[in-house]
């Protein structure tokens, strides 16, 4: 008796590699699901992780918060100036990293 595996069809589910398995501080939706405006999770609705280790849905949550004058470009959770934590952890898509520095203070 000899059994050899020819083909393996694995199934995997992806999720955001976030330190804490929590909800977005702005829209209160889980990180794994979308913000209230997006339809599909994933590249369409990526996350942005700040240096303060607070992360949010990027497009419609943290970016639109930072655009407001009153925000003073601070993290809504800890009131420290919000800076994204390095290119690798910020987002998944190719365009988003370009957008993020635009709005985040340097």
């Amino acid at each position: 008796m000899k059994v050899t595996i020819r083909e393996w069809n694995a199934v995997a589910a992806w999720r955001w590699d976030m330190p804490d398995d929590d909800v977005c501080g702005i829209c209160r939706n889980p990180y794994d699901s979308t913000c209230s405006k997006c339809k599909f999770p994933g590249d369409e609705c990526p996350l942005l992780l700040g240096e303060c280790n607070h992360s949010f849905h990027m497009k419609h949550c943290i970016l639109s918060w930072l655009k407001q004058e009153s925000s003073l470009e601070k993290c809504p959770m800890c009131r420290q100036p919000f800076k994204s934590k390095g290119q690798d952890a910020t987002s998944a898509g190719a365009e988003q990293p370009l957008q993020a520095p635009d709005s985040s203070p340097i």
Binding site: K2, N9, V11, A13
Partner: protein, 873 residues
Amino acid sequence: MSSADSGTLKRKHSVSTQQKLSFTAQQKPNSTATAALSPTSKRARRESSPQEAATSSIMSTADMYSFPSKRSSVPNGKEIVDITSSPDNSPAKPRNGMMRKTAPSMGVNAGPKRLMVKNFRPVRKVDPKDFLDQTWQKIEAALNTIFRQGEIDFSLEELYRGVENLCRQNMARDVKERLVKKCKEYVGGALKAKVKESLGRTNVDVLRATLQAWSTWHDQVQYLDWIFCYLDRSYLLPRHESLRDISIGLFRTIVFEHAKLNPRIVDGACDLVAADRTGGELDSDMFKKTVGMFHDMNVYTQHFEPRLLELSQEYVMNWADAESDQKSLPEYVRSARALMDREMQRADLYRLPNTTKRDLLTLLEDHLISRKEERLTNQDEFADLLEANAVEDLELLYSLLERRRLGNKLRPGFTKWIEDEGTAIVFDEKEQENMVIQLLTLKRQLDSFWKVSFHRDDELGHGLRESFELFMNKTKKTSASWGTDNSKTGEMIAKYVDMLLRGGAKAIPAQLSRRASTKVDIAEAEEDIEDAIYDEDTEVNSQLDQVLDLFRFVHGKAVFEAFYKKDLARRLLMGRSASADAERSMLSRLKTECGAGFTANLEQMFRDIELSREEMASYKMICEERGQKQSLDLNVNILSASSWPTYPTVPVIIPSEIKSAIDKFEAHYKSKHSGRKLELKHALAHCQIKAKFPKGNKELVVSSFQAIVLLLFNNRPADEHIDYNYLKEATGLPPAELNRTLQSLACAKLRPLTKHPKGRDINPSDTFTLNSSFSDPKYRIKINTVQLKETAAENKETHERVAADRNYETQAAIVRILKARKRISHAELVAETIKATRNRGTLEVSGIKRNIDRLIEKEFLEREDDGLYAYIA
């Protein structure tokens, strides 16, 4: 002969240009010409001769005779005196008719020129009275012969002339009176006597005698007609009488309306009809003649019709009572229909007038339908008919009722039957697997009732849909739905769709496949002739359409959604869809049915599979470029967790070879999509393995767990027993999963392993060996069906999740209502909540109450002193 002759004579003399001569007195178009010339003269003359006024017809004839003379005389010169226009000039003003006729010569004499009248014959003096008697004698003799029905031995021409002459002599009235008297004598005497003879016998015989007399009389009147034609035309017609009317009237008043004869005659006719009704022979010739006679005598509507209707009513009433008591509903309907047909046919055949037909029909409908409405809509019997699928009988019943617009009275019975049948199907726990098939069959049956039997009656159509909806959404807390009140129909429909999409056309149950049922559905055959050519796709599509018809009735789509999603996930991950097209078309159907929100997740699932395929292709390309040889063909489906059903992660020890391949891919994925991590769901994985069995090589399609177990038997002698505990350790599987896996390998139809001791259930003390005698005609064998099957636990979990979701939804609805209303009473809140969540299925009040309590606990709302709920901001 005198006056009439003198008239004609005068015509010859005075009128040289005879243009228009007519005997009919009414025809006075020429008088317009005269009117202008002498409007007063005529009137004056009429006044001057009062005796003549009575016989105006003759006078006006005389009038006419004089027109042309005027017209011709006027252009001749004014010397010629207009005789008619100048009565004032004439000295003899008050003259009688005879005198007047000599007037022209006098008038002419008065003129300046002398006119000679040629061939003037003086009037013969014959006494008109004598002349009348003389002529009448001849006529009377003839009449006697006629009435005796003797040989006609006289000249009709001569008699006619005689009558004509009499009429011209102003004796028409006398002639008429004499004639009428003569006829009266005859009809009242000989003719009546003949009819009366039959009085002692049956009504029909009386009728027959009457008919006999009638036809005799009719023949005789024919002679009278010939003889008295002139009288008829010139004397009676202007008076709106006619010989015919008089003769018929005589017969009617004397014979027909005779106190004793009349009822007998009419009843005789009715007896004929009655005989026909009771199955006897109808003397059709006789009846036809009778109807004709009644019409001729103008007594049809007055005497015959009411009596006929009266007797018909009695008959129909008794008939309806007897029939409805004795016969079953369909038989009654059929015979009622036949009776109506028969009656109408008879009415048509004998040309009964439309009023009779209409009244008869009303009467029939009254007694057969309206009065028997209760009987016709008897729910039990109606249900029996429905049960027996008696489409034609139902059609008869419906069209019978519909004559009186009572078709909708069937609704209660119809809806009740549907509800009973449907509820029985929905709550039949033994036949749960077949629920959808049964529902589809029922639906199809109902549709054909509606289309064929009930002529697409709107009211009944609504009833059908309403009651279908009602039972489809009936819920009961049963063990089948694990104590939740989820609708079982939603679940079963989802499973049926899954079966269709997995199996394609082959999976369509025989009793529903179109091929098998072509003869069943008349209505469908009518409609769908154009797609008589079947192929598998259209077959599957039509099945999906039918299922969707059912689905539309279901209120709580959440259950369907949950199960459909689960099944779809399985189909996608195991690659078990029969056709991608069918999947897509189902998806678009659901989208149109329930909106985009409903299908968003499902679409994402399709997208994930698509993306994963691309991902794998690019990964493989990269590997090839790097020159890395793949030891095994790895495919990974990467899911976005939120769109898919939640799957528990089952701990398992993956063979190192596979683990390294997966790890390599995971590293690649992470480098490509930063910020993500992968969670492998081994329970969903499946694989192909090549296995060398003593009886030959096989390729097996197995689940990952099965493969892992089988790998443990690698390079072991065929008779080595491996015990349960070792397998448990080596695979790291939890007992439930391991048991399932081993069972599928050692106790299913195909057994690559052998269990010792034999039995269905796996025990920790069991040992396993390879099945050395494993063989199968096919080379490639699928034995991962266990993976496809839904376990009881999964089913329970899905149900509970749906129920839990519903609770959240209810709570959300309650909070939303309170946010808007701030303060609300309990009853109002419950009503509003039911309204708000209706499209998700109706909620039980107790469930709403529980959710309100929960919200109070969570301090979303509070109870106020006055019993109202208030929202806590």
